[in-house]
Symmetry: C2
Subunit: 127 residues, 2 copies
DNA sequence: AACAATATTGACGTTTACGTAAAATGCGTA
DNA sequence: TACGCATTTTACGTAAACGTCAATATTGTT
């Protein structure tokens, strides 16, 4: 039998710097499904993993609806040919989006670096 | 070959796939400053450039407030030592954020690729 | 048993980033 | 001159993602 460890709601809020409201909201949105001990929520390692996926998605600017789509790709059902091909299509779309974001990041980093160089020059001149 | 100096509102909405409402909203937010010919807005190349920065920032999940901060870094005033050092600090923060996003993207791309591989395997088995 | 700490369930409130509809204005063309 | 079309201002509406109470319950400690 697999060792089941649980996390309380406050352990997760502490670890990830979020509020209980956020965790309950994600549960309402069916993104998490903690078990219950009486009324208390017990988050499983699976919940914790999904939470990490959610927060990572949010950092990348995805909406919760988009995060849900991405997570559903991870644990999709076997399915038949048509479904599998559609899934590949959606994966390709997301990959394209992410590659666009990569370009956007590189551009922004380069620009910020330029600013930094010119600021540093002025600081040197002030000596 | 005179470079066109102004863009109408509909030219910009067409080019970037946004609505007039969006452009006016960004103007209310002081992110854009089109000139006027009578009542009509005339967007300058500078407005267009800023618009591109805004949209790029949004793709990366930045709020308009954050986009504003980033844009302000680009055209900051000369300033004295203290200001310049604070600016460097904020630049470093944004760079760190962007680097985190890069990691997030790489992870997500890798995971999506794994899904893709397993989907492809099942498709091959269906032959 | 009393109490503090933690958690739970409503439920209304707030911010961000626009959407959308209404009414007025200006401009080129039939 | 009448008309269509783009544009403008004004202003209420909305979806997403939580925030912020308040009232109640549960659990461990004194």
């Amino acid at each position: 039998m697999t060792k089941r460890r649980y996390y309380t709601i406050s352990e997760l809020t502490a670890e990830f710097g979020i509020t209980t409201r956020t965790l309950r909201f994600y549960e309402d949105e069916k993104l998490l499904n903690p078990e219950r001990q009486a009324r208390k929520r017990l988050y499983t390692p699976r919940d914790r993993t999904r939470l990490k996926l959610i927060l990572r998605g949010k950092r990348l600017g995805f909406s919760l609806a988009e995060v849900r789509e991405i997570i559903e790709m991870y644990d999709h059902a076997p399915g038949e040919r048509g479904q599998l091909e559609k899934l590949q299509g959606r994966i390709a779309e997301r990959q394209a989006e992410l590659e666009q974001k990569q370009k956007d990041i590189l551009e922004t980093l380069e620009e910020l670096n330029q600013v930094n160089v010119s600021v540093q020059q002025r600081l040197n001149e002030l000596k």
